[in-house]
Symmetry: C2
Amino acid sequence: MSNTTELVVKMNLDSWNSHLKRTDDIINSLTDEQLAGQVSPGRNRGTYLLGHLTAVNDRLLPLMGFGEQVHPELNDTYLANPDDTSKTSHSIAELRSHWKEVNDRLEQHINSLSTDEWLQRHTSVSEEDFAKEPHRNRLNVLISRTGHMAGHLGQLLFLKR
Amino acid sequence: MSNTTELVVKMNLDSWNSHLKRTDDIINSLTDEQLAGQVSPGRNRGTYLLGHLTAVNDRLLPLMGFGEQVHPELNDTYLANPDDTSKTSHSIAELRSHWKEVNDRLEQHINSLSTDEWLQRHTSVSEEDFAKEPHRNRLNVLISRTGHMAGHLGQLLFLKR
C-alpha cells in the first residue's frame, strides 16, 4: 500500500471523525427538551435522528466485519419506520447512552484498521463481485455514512435556539 | 501513483458528484416560491443557501488553481454575511443561472484532473507548509466541501412540501 493511499485514507478518516465529533457536540449541547422537538415543523424529532444515527452507526459494526450490532432493537423504530410522534419508544437518557456506547465501540475498530484493511470488501458484497467492483470496500461505506451524518447534522443544528 | 490511490480518489469524486447532483435535483424541483421560503422558521431562506453554495463552489475555482471566480459579487451577501430577510439581493432566476454556470465550469476541471493533480497542494497553502502537511491538497478541499454541501442539502430538503 503506497504512502499516498495511506494519506488519502487518513483524510477520509479525519472527515468521518470530525463530523462525528461535531454531531456528538451538538447532541450533548442540546437539552432533553430541545432534543424532543422537531428539527423543523412536521419533520423528524431530534430524538428520532439520535436513534437513527445510532442505529446507522451500529449497523456499521457487522457491515465492516467488526462484530454484531449492539442495539438491534433500534432498527425497527429508527431505520425501518419514519418518526411517529404518537409514541416515544425509548427514553432520551437511553438514546444518549446507546449513542455513546455504539460510537465508542465503533471508534476502537475504526482507529485500529490498517490502510489495507480499509480497502477490503465490506460484508454485504461477495468476493466475486468485489473482484469486479473494488470500490465496494469498507472505506467507501465510511465515506457514504459521513455524507449521511453531515446531512442530519445540518438538521440537528436547528434545535439550537 | 498507485492504482489504489486512483481508486480512493475516484471514490471521493463520486461522493462529490453524487452530493452535487442531489443538491441540484432538489433545487431544480423547488418552485421559486418554495425556494424563497426559510428552510425552518428563523433560519436561512432557500435562496440564501442557493447563493451560498454557488459562492462556495465558485471559490473552489481559484482555491483549486482552476482560474478566477466567476461571480465574486456573491461573496459579500452569501458568504461574508448571514441571511438578511429585509432584502433580496439577487433574483431567483439569476441565482439559478449562476449556480448552473459555476457548476458547469467547475465540473470541466474536476473531471479532467489526474490522480496526481488531486494530491497537489491547493493555492492557499505555501510550498513550504505543504511539504510538511501533504494532506493540504486539492482532494481534501473537495472532501471538506462535500460535507458542507451535504449539511445544506439536508436543510434544503425541508423546503419540499
